[in-house]
Structures are given as C-alpha cells and as structure tokens.
Amino acid sequence: MDALTQTYTEEVAPRRASAARGSAWRLGWLAAFAWAATAAVILGWGDADDFERTNLLGEIAVAAGVVILGAASVHRFRALPAGLRASGAWLVALAIGLCGWEIITAKLDLLPRPFFAAPQAILEVFTDDWARLGESVLRSLWLLIPSYLIGAGLGFLVGVAIGWSRLAGYWMHPVLRLLGPVPAVAWIPVAFFVFPTSRSASTFLIALATFFPVAVLTWSGVAAVSSAFYDVARTMGAKPWFLVRKVAVPAAMPSVFVGLFMGLGASFSVLVVAEMLGVKAGLGWYMQWAQGWAAYGNMYAALLVMALMCSALITLLFRIRDRLLSWQKGVVRW
C-alpha cells in the first residue's frame, strides 16, 4: 500500500524546473500569446446562441494574457520563481484547452446541451450562485473534518494498541480483519436506521471509512519498528509507556501518514455519497440538486469546487506530514 501511494504521488508531483536563471522565458511569451488568442476567439467570434458572461470570460482571458506577459517581461531583469517558470507549458495548454472547449460549445454548438456546458455557463454559476456554492463547501467541510478527525484519532489509537499489546491484538485483529474491508458505504442502510439524525449517521460512516486504513497502517507501522530501537531505550532505563510514546509512535509516523492519506481519500467518497443520499446540504447535495434541475453548469461548477477542496485538503495533509517528518530522507512532494 505504501508503494502504491508512493508512485501515485510521485507521478502527480511536478518535476522540478531546470530552466537557467536569467534566460528568456520562451514558454511565458508563448503562453501570453495563447491567452491573447483565446481572448480574441471568445470576444471576436459570435456565440452560436445566447450565452451570458461571454464578455467576462474574454476579459479573464485578456487579464491572464496580460499578467503572463508582465511576468515574462519581468523575467528578463529578475529571475522568476522556479515554480512559476516551470508552469509555462501548463499555461499554454490551459489556454489551448479553454479555446477548444469554447469553440466546440459556445461558438459551434457541437455538443448536446444541457449535458455539456460552455465555459461561460460555468463562469455564470460562480458569479450568480457563489453564495450557495460557498455555503455548500462550508457544510461539506463542517461534516467532513470533525468526522475525519474522529475516525483518524480512533484508528490511530486502535492501530497503536494492536501493534503494541498482544491482548489488544488478540481481540481487535479478527474484528478489523472481518469488518475492515467492508466498504463504509455498505453500512448506509444500517447507519441511517440506527442513528437518530442523518448528520450523526454520516459522521459515523465517514469516521468508519477513515478509521480502517489509519488503524491498519498505524498497526503495521508500529509492528515494523526495529527491536533494536526498543533495546537501546530499554538499556537506558525506558519504561513501556516511554517506548510507546517516544519510540513506537514516532517510528510509525511515516506509515501513519500513508494511512491518513488513504483515509482522507476514502472519507471524500463517503462524504459525497452521504450528501447525495441523506444529508440535505453540502457539495454532494448541490450536485444532486443541480442534476435534478438539469442545471449541468451548476453540477460541473460544483465538481470543480469539489476537486479544489479535496486537493487542498490533501495538500494540507502533505504539508503537515512534511513538517512533522522533516527528518525523513527523500520524502515525496505532493
């Protein structure tokens, strides 16, 4: 499981730029040109139908082009941050992608509506429905974060207990083995029946989905601690509680973070399912509701927001990991 996450994050991780300092930022000039061309297509070419926000979209493209042009000009005198320089190819690709999308939807109307939305239709959702979207994000986070923390906390404690204590292992290991692999969503019928409110039921489900990977990986992390580490501390007079807190737990932390990462992914899927089925708020509910009204633009907008939210949470987790595990050699950058 460790290796899996490793390769996944490595593939996602951006490669470091090797552009020489002070040289011309050719991709930057190209990106500025691409955004200017995209703006020209959006603004100069008449829409196939009545679309709102075409002008705003065009202005955004113009602004992007101007900002990139400015950055490319500045780069001749002062080197830009490597991260920005490295994103040059992406800036070009985004402009081309937006342009292509704009042409086949708004300009030529090639794709069936309302299933495929034009870029300005999605932009319109953000300008007109941002309050409801924003509230949905907050509702989702308000459900997700406490539930995730409960599941992660319990998973961590159970993992340490199983890894450390033979008695705990004897009783908890079989239960974990039998119930752990059951997808958390399989408990939905039971949960919405047993728990008094849909919120408490969802909290249970999200916590459960987080619990399993965190418990298993904490356990394997604790179990894998070299016995020499314990011997060293024991010869110096360490008591069992010290061995748990200061040897087993820190040594297991890299593995714990893999579990936290996997648990976060699992918690996202349960969150969305729970919001679509029972909870009357949040991004999952928003998408369900938008689809019910055939408001596909709203659905795509919510999907985009959800992608940003989940990615931001994963980034946050990796930041915390990098900070806590700075002692590790060659950690994967997210």
Partner: protein
C-alpha cells in the same frame, strides 16, 4: 578534552558465573553458551573474540540484561542482573540512532527516558563535545556519515555515565581509516572515564590494541578457550613484536594459522 562532571564513578565489576544459554529454534533448543565463567574487574577493558555466530553477542545481551541466562547468573558488583539498567549501556554494531531525532536529542535519550533531562541536561553537550560532534548536534542521522553516527551512538551511551560499556562490534562497519581514529578515541575516553569496557570484535588486532585482556571463544556453543592478558602500555602500535606475537597466538587458537 572535557571530562563529564557528574561523579566519575569507578567501573563496575562483572561476574559471569557458570552461565549456559540456549535459544529455542523451531522447537529445538540450540545451545549458544556453555559453562562460561568470567570475572571482569572494575575499570578493566576486556575484548571477546571468537568465530562468527559463536554466541559472543548473546553473552553481551545477558550482561546488558536484555535476556536472562538459561542457567547460571550474571552479576554486576555482586548483584544478579535481572534486567536492563542505565549503568550498563550497550553500543551496537549499527548506530541505531532514532532517525526522527537530531544528534543531540538522540544523545539525550537515556536522560529523557529516566526523566533526568532537566537535572543532567548539561551532560548531553559535554558528551557531544567529548566525541567531537558539537557542530553536528542539530543534524539528523541521515545527514551525517557512518563514523559520525557511531560517535553519536557513543555519546548517547556516555551521557548515562555508565559503569560498564558493552560494545558489540561498534566499529565493525566503519571504513578502515575511521576505524583507526575511533579506536584511539575509544581508548582515550575509556582511560579518561574509568568505566569497565566489554568489547566484542572480529578484529584480533583491534582487541589487542584496546584491551587489557582478550578472551578467545570456541565455536558454538561457545566456551572460553583462552584468557590472555595483554601487558603492553598504551598507546600500542600494531607492529609491536609482542603484539604481533599475541596476534599469531590468537589466530592459531581460532584455527587460522598464518
């Protein structure tokens, strides 16, 4: 160099009394030590040499209190050893530093484990200075070389002000140059501090350069084949004819005629 200020206690007297020890391997008892009798006086430096896998390291684990002998007893200053104690510190072949702790925090491990960090915290920096690692106190183990890691491990042991330092091939994995350097530092610190030292090594020359006595073990199950006193003044030279003579004698005992 700096002497640790906390009372430089005299070394500990060690008594291995008729110890036999066996492991259980796939249900079968596997004897590793047979009727070992060994007395080590306070402040002595004793080296144990023997064929690989003969059970020397098992003896060290008994002395450290990490395992209990099947029969017989190991006594420290006349008291039977029943468990680990900070007065008897083990240094392993691998530095076994905690990778999540800086060099300083690793050296402070023993004090922290016993809740004495506040009282004796100054010993940490003194020990780091003694092994020449002051500049690397804030480094993490992966940032330092193998030799430095082994020095850090030595500092971590010395912080406990041990009466007995148990050395399980601590220099075995170092390159030959670092090894020579560490041998003389070990010697300097031992003479400075006056603890008792028990060293397991594969390197007969190392045993003769450092120890006052060399115990030669037989193949498993280990018995004591010879107990040789090395009456040469320090610092010793590897090409000293008396030393080369002893070396030849030990190698012959180990079945390696040269």
């Amino acid at each position: 160099m700096v002497a640790l200020q906390a009372a430089v206690q005299a070394g500990l007297a060690l008594d291995v009394a008729n110890v036999s020890h066996s492991f259980s391997l796939a249900g079968q008892p596997l004897p590793v030590l047979e009727h070992i009798n060994l007395r080590v006086g306070p402040g002595e430096f004793v080296a144990l040499v023997g064929p690989s896998g003969c059970g020397k390291s098992s003896l060290l684990r008994l002395v450290a209190g990490l395992d209990q002998p099947t029969t017989g007893a190991v006594l420290a200053d006349g008291q039977t050893i029943t468990g680990p104690d900070p007065s008897r510190v083990l240094m392993f072949q691998d530095p076994t530093l905690y990778p999540w702790r800086t060099v300083r925090a690793n050296a402070a491990l023993g004090l922290e484990a016993r809740g004495e960090l506040r009282r004796y915290g100054h010993r940490v920096d003194e020990a780091l200075q003694l092994v020449g690692l002051t500049a690397f106190a804030g480094a993490y183990p992966h940032q330092i070389s193998g030799g430095m890691a082994q020095r850090a491990s030595l500092a971590r042991a010395l912080v406990n002000d041990p009466g007995l330092l148990i050395l399980d091939e601590p220099l075995g994995k170092l390159d030959s140059l670092t090894r020579l350097q560490m041998q003389s530092e070990l010697l300097r610190i031992w003479r400075d501090r006056g603890f008792t030292a028990l060293l397991v090594t594969h390197d007969v020359e190392e045993a003769l350069l450092l120890a006052g006595r060399v115990i030669v073990f037989s193949e498993r199950p280990a018995r004591i084949r010879a107990d040789l006193t090395v009456e040469l003044p320090y610092p010793r030279h590897r090409d000293d004819p008396a030393l080369t003579g002893l070396r030849r004698e030990i190698l012959a005992l180990l079945g390696l005629e040269s």
